[in-house]
Amino acid sequence: MVKIENITKTYEKGKVKALTNINLSIEKGELFGLIGPDGAGKTSLFRILTSLLIPDSGIVKIMNFDVVKDYKEIRKITGYMPGKFSLYQDLSVEENLNFFASVFGTTVKENYSLIEDIYVQIEPFKKRLAGKLSGGMKQKLALSCALIHKPEILVLDEPTTGVDAVSRKEFWEMLKKLKSEGITILVSTPYMDEASLCDRIALIQNGEILSVDKPLNIINQFNKKLFAIRTSNMYQLMQDLKQFGSLNTAFLFGQVVHFTSKNKNTNSEEIRFFLKENNHSDIFIKEIVPSIEDCFMEFAKNEK
């Protein structure tokens, strides 16, 4: 469906590197996640995919259309939701939807079935100006507008950034539903916990892909023992772990610290002993399965 080969993109005459040698291929009907922090190159890559930017080198093909040469065809088959809320704030919900429908040469009626589930949630406010909607509602409207022409491929740039946990959850449920309609979906996000909701993900940092695979396989690539540790004094715990002889990483993860050692043989008992030495009480240690966020940090660290 999408084939990305050796894409490199720089800005300001090569001074700023946005993307370096990106290779990806995405299957039809896939829900593909591009995961990385701000400034990793997600937006640049999506803009190349939607024919808004020309790469310095490399080839991108969507359904065999070249994004540079055949940009007219590309624009017919893609639905795009930019990172910034980009609907007309001074038009109402209804007016926005009608406008984008006619821009794509269709009507709201024609493809209503596709957006129905999403649109019914905002329909009670169809007379309200888009600028007056809350974050979650804006996202729903933007998604409706991107879908109105029944695109083959949907490109969503950070649709859940700045949106609260509940709206985010709802948004991902909508994406799953769209996927079941056979639409290929590319979505980028800085939230690592959303990775498990995708069929496949690419981790991206500083314009380079760290890893591409199914979320489970990525977790399997994590080749170290990961311990979750908790004691009564978390601040002190972090300070002390930094002194642990074979420390590889120690990161706060919610209520626990995720700890890895350089030494394969490090086990819970050794850590417990070390912490007792340092006067910690209520010590909890457990070896756990890493999350995507653990993987991301590990890969990013190795990359450096």
Partner: protein, 245 residues
């Protein structure tokens, strides 16, 4: 424990719309207080009032020992503020930004120089001292911006989604800074959409439709809602929201 923020029956109305509906809570000295809520729950409104940027409709409020109705200037001198959006001047260098912000809080040149150097060293930014802020990656900027927000050693620092979009490693380094500051006795008042960060707080309040629906330590909240993590607590609460618009 010493209270640095006392809020009693805070109400804020915009015409008919009640943004803050009778909030009552205290924040203790040196604690990390997580202020959570869905979009539009009224977090920003309340935070603006606490920072003395807007007046409440009614209620008793005391921030850093001063009254929000009559002693706004004193409050502003005793708090720090950092938001995700506005933080630093991109066309000034790292050092110039520090100098400027420290200057507006009336620190003497000697103290500014001393603290600027400590800060730059602590952030490992010695080589970037004279670089424009626009050339720094986002994560660095946020760390710098936080350090600047507390350069005048305020009693309380307010952080409005300080880690949005920041990479996971830098996000944790950021929280290290927060812990250090709290350890120095600075009270941290923080909002975030990352639920794992809610776990780092000493206490967490969750707002729904302008009211505080829950306020306790993360551990107690999880027990109370029979939830595995804060994300679940949050979703259970936020689902209750009546105005799902």
């Amino acid at each position: 424990m010493e209270k640095v923020i006392i809020v009693k029956n805070l109400v804020k109305k915009f015409e008919d719309f009640v943004a803050n509906d009778n909030l009552t809570f205290d924040v203790y000295k040196g604690e990390i207080f997580g202020f959570l809520g869905a979009n539009g729950a009224g977090k920003t409104t309340a935070m603006k009032i606490l920072c003395a940027l807007s007046q409440p409709t009614s209620g008793e409020l005391n921030v850093a020992g001063f009254d929000v109705y009559t002693q706004q200037d004193k409050i502003k001198a005793n708090i720090g503020y950092m938001s995700q959006r506005f933080s630093l001047y991109e066309d000034l260098t790292v050092f110039e930004n520090i100098q400027f912000y420290a200057g507006i809080y009336g620190l003497s040149n000697k103290i500014i120089k001393e603290r600027a150097e400590n800060l730059i060293k602590k952030l490992e930014m010695v080589e970037m001292k004279n670089k424009l802020v626009s050339s720094l990656p986002l994560g660095w900027r946020q760390k710098l911006s936080f350090s600047i927000a507390i350069i005048h050693k305020p009693q309380i620092v307010f952080l409005d989604e300080p880690t949005g979009g920041v990479d996971p490693i830098t996000r944790r380094q950021f929280w290290d800074l927060i812990y250090d500051a709290a350890n120095d006795g600075i009270t941290i008042f923080v909002t975030t959409h990352y639920m794992d960060e809610a776990e780092y707080c000493n206490r967490v309040s969750i707002m729904v439709d302008g009211r505080i629906e829950a306020l306790d330590t993360p551990q107690n909240l999880k027990k109370q809602f029979n939830a595995e993590d804060m994300n679940e607590v949050f979703i259970q609460l936020a689902r209750k929201s009546k105005n799902k618009e």
